[in-house]
Amino acid sequence: MTSSTDTLTDMLARAHAGDRRALARVISAIERGERLPGIPLGDAEDAAKLCVGITGAPGAGKSTLVSALTDELLKTSPSAAVLAVDPSSPISRGALLGDRVRMHRHATRPEVFIRSMATRSHHGGLAGATQASRRLLQYCAWPLVLIETVGVGQVELDIVNTADIAVVVLNPGWGDEIQANKAGLMEIADIFVINKADRPGLESTRRDIDAVIMTRPESQRPPVIETVATEGVGMESLAQAITEVHQSLTGTGELARRRYAQLGMELSQQMSRRFSQQLERYADCPAFAAAVAQLAAGSVSIEAAIDEMLPQVVNSVSPSQDESVPSGEQ
């Protein structure tokens, strides 16, 4: 019963010692929802670690940008890990993960680790396993992690709760002033990138972004970087902007505050996930069926039924380590 946990513990130790295969397998275990032996999380103050999130609309050029940016960051960083997220089909739950095609030049570099990740029914622009995988990578001596989100609209903003710095990628001809002032994507950027800047419409996109950020105090205006990722144009400026934002967030204590808040968010999400598992189990038991019958007979209100059952759900036998593996796995 503890054998799978033992193996996972061994595997985590090997990953920590630099074994790439073990690292890849632990990420798969996280994706399957297996419970990891503890990774120390108290890194809120560790300014040497950095996680940069790259987000933007589908087709904005995120993968190409991540690839070119990785080249640039490797001039000063000894390594870089990339988590590239693409959507799972809500119908088949399969996925086509194509980000590696654009990162081909890093295909065999030992200092680059790339992992494609399907969202697996998680909403918010990332996979449910992204945050834990990011922590795993940084624990396993990959201090610099880049996360590429799925192509997002205005509200898939999980990246804020996951990365240290959010880079929002737009294109010339994107939207207009009204779009720019809508809530969401435009509010989370620590850095704006206008990629494909060699295309028409650059000036008006720049004006729209400026109009949004000019209303903020000067110290809170994100830099706006123009890039042509396919040619590597603007990568030096972008890497420079990332360094400056990182330094500024560290200096003001904002980085530590963000990471602290992210831990709270993560704890709450993990608890909620664990609670859902408990609830699913409870929903199979006779007490739950009895409550449904009472509801149907009109002898109890739904609120009263919940009040009655809630303590039992929480106190029901907690799942063993092995049972945390979803039923899809044999």
């Binding site: 295969r21 798969s28 799972s88 996925a95 086509l96 993960l97 590696r100 790339i114 494609s116 899809g328």
Partner: protein, 128 residues
Amino acid sequence: MADTGKRILMAKTGLDGHWRGPTIVATALRDAGFEVIMIGMARSDEVLQAAIDEDVDLVGLNIGGHIDVALRAVELVQTECEGMPIFCGGVVPPHAKRRLEALGVEVFPPGSQLPDIVDSARRLTGIA
């Protein structure tokens, strides 16, 4: 419901620019619930690195004409990832098909049917 949780690597080992075949196969596999990681045109060492980092359950190679690159990829993956199943498709001449099959690789030459390829993926990843 079709959720397999299984991951398949898809690489092109040929130098021809034809993407249609592998794309159609990849889409069929996605629709059958697989996560398909496309890496495009790749040398044998690139196929191996992706198979390791992506922790896939099955490697798919699209062959265009010359099978030398594919044979090298098969050899390398079989040496470095013990027990990793591999299947191939594309323009595979009969003599090449025999060589690949002798190495334990399932081969789908032109004219193969998508349902057969999907069945093979299910079988090779142990879900059917």
